[in-house]
């Protein structure tokens, strides 16, 4: 069983590395963006906190979303549409195990992006991480959360065209309204209200508090609103995915 899982993981990673578009979009672009913005705005404060205290969690969320929600969901929908899972269902390997390996690959990629951002922050910009353990643990939890969302989206949507269209339609607004690049405070009030239903915005909020615990006291209500929103979202998504999974069976 372990040999099978390792072989499956090897294949997943090889196939991923052979698709440069995924690598570019989910890993390289956010890393270069972080470098660029870091060099431009590294000395600027935002809401009383340093640029890096705001934007390291933010860029980590962008990498997470690109590598897990977009990438994993895209793969699950694409493989489902091609009929790969149908062929594999004639083998002894359970679909659950295959999905587990796909999700684990997403986990490793998100972790890699996270480590690269932190290394750049520490060695390029001489950033000190205030609460490294809390931040790393929180990020790992956020990876798992995002992978669940991405996997769930892949189960709910049947066609790759539909998935791509949905991601195009939602990803750009989610990215812009996440407070990870352009400060939300600079946007019109209506945009800021829309950000309240943006999971990227709430994930960024939570990770910013994990980065610097002192931030908690400056916006207790905002932090708990983000937590409740994120928990609620995963519960609702889980219910829909559960219904769809049972229907397919």
């Amino acid at each position: 069983m372990m040999a099978m899982l390792i072989e499956q993981l090897k294949v997943e990673i090889k196939v991923y590395l052979r698709q440069p578009f995924y690598l570019l979009f989910s890993l390289l672009m956010p890393v270069f963006s972080f470098l660029f913005f870091g060099m431009m705005y590294g000395n600027v404060d935002y809401n009383g906190f340093s640029f890096f205290a705001n934007y390291i969690p933010g860029f980590s969320v962008i990498i997470l979303f690109a590598s897990s929600v977009y990438n994993i969901g895209n793969q699950v929908v694409g493989d489902k549409e091609k009929g790969i899972y149908k062929r594999l269902s004639a083998t002894p390997i359970s679909l659950g195990r295959i999905m587990g390996v796909v999700v684990f690959k997403g986990f490793l990629l998100a972790l890699l992006g996270f480590v690269i951002i932190l290394l750049l922050a520490v060695f390029r910009f001489n950033v000190t991480i205030p609460n490294p353990v809390i931040y790393c643990v929180s990020y790992v939890v956020t990876i798992v959360y995002s992978l669940c969302l991405g996997f769930g989206a892949g189960i709910l949507i049947d066609k790759l065209n539909t998935y791509s269209a949905a991601m195009m339609a939602f990803f750009m607004p989610m990215f812009i309204l996440s407070d990870t690049t352009i400060p939300l405070s600079m946007m019109p009030g209506s945009f800021q209200k829309v950000a309240m239903i943006n999971p990227l915005y709430h994930m960024t909020n939570v990770l910013r508090v994990a980065w610097d615990i002192e931030r908690y006291s400056s916006d207790v209500k905002g932090f708990w609103f983000s937590m409740v929103f994120l928990v609620g979202l995963i519960i609702v998504a889980g219910i829909f995915v559960g219904i769809k999974w049972k229907k397919k069976k």
Partner: protein
Amino acid sequence: MRVNNIKKDFKDVEALKDISFEFEAPSFVGVIGHNGSGKTTMLEILMGIQTATSGTVDYSNEFELKDMKENIGVILQSNAFYSNMKVIELLRLFKSYYKDSFDINYLMEKLKITDYQNKYYDKLSGGMKQKVNLALAFINKPKVVFLDEPTTGLDPRARHDFWTVLKELCNDTLLFLSSHYMEEVQKYCDKIVYLKDGELLYAGALDKFFDQQESKDLSEIYLRISGGKDDGDVD
């Protein structure tokens, strides 16, 4: 194996109506019928990919039901694998799924695909892809094999090569193979399952079918019975 009163309904379409038959290894069973007759649906139920609305499939003479996926091999009508995957990687991956399997080098030599092992699967020609699909279908030394239109789209030479290799790989195997090429079913199969509009017209020895139909030309019998009709695919 024994198939008992298999029925399959899709919303308001009765895809299979009370299908029952019994075959034992070694046999080559040709599954024939017009487009939409239920061939793929029936094969996918036997493979365990689809579930029947009612009825049972009994493999107890071949293996225990819990070991079914370890003991069957399949080629689907449409076989897709991960993009950017090499042939050798695909074979290693599938080998890892089974408790007992052939040596990969042995299979590659048998199927004459050793020179293609480092090529990407989706860049291969149709004939080569089917050889790789055959390797994947037989990698676990299956007792029962299901091949859904494996020779469709292959040129005559590729079809000939396919059958040559298939006969070499089958060793006390119960093989089900659907095909629209009546001449190859007649040449290579000793049993047939004939479906029309989801109903079983005949299941049994090909010789007996010829006696019943008073003809030894399967193409002529097929055209007479099925009328050359194309009803579209509900599979």
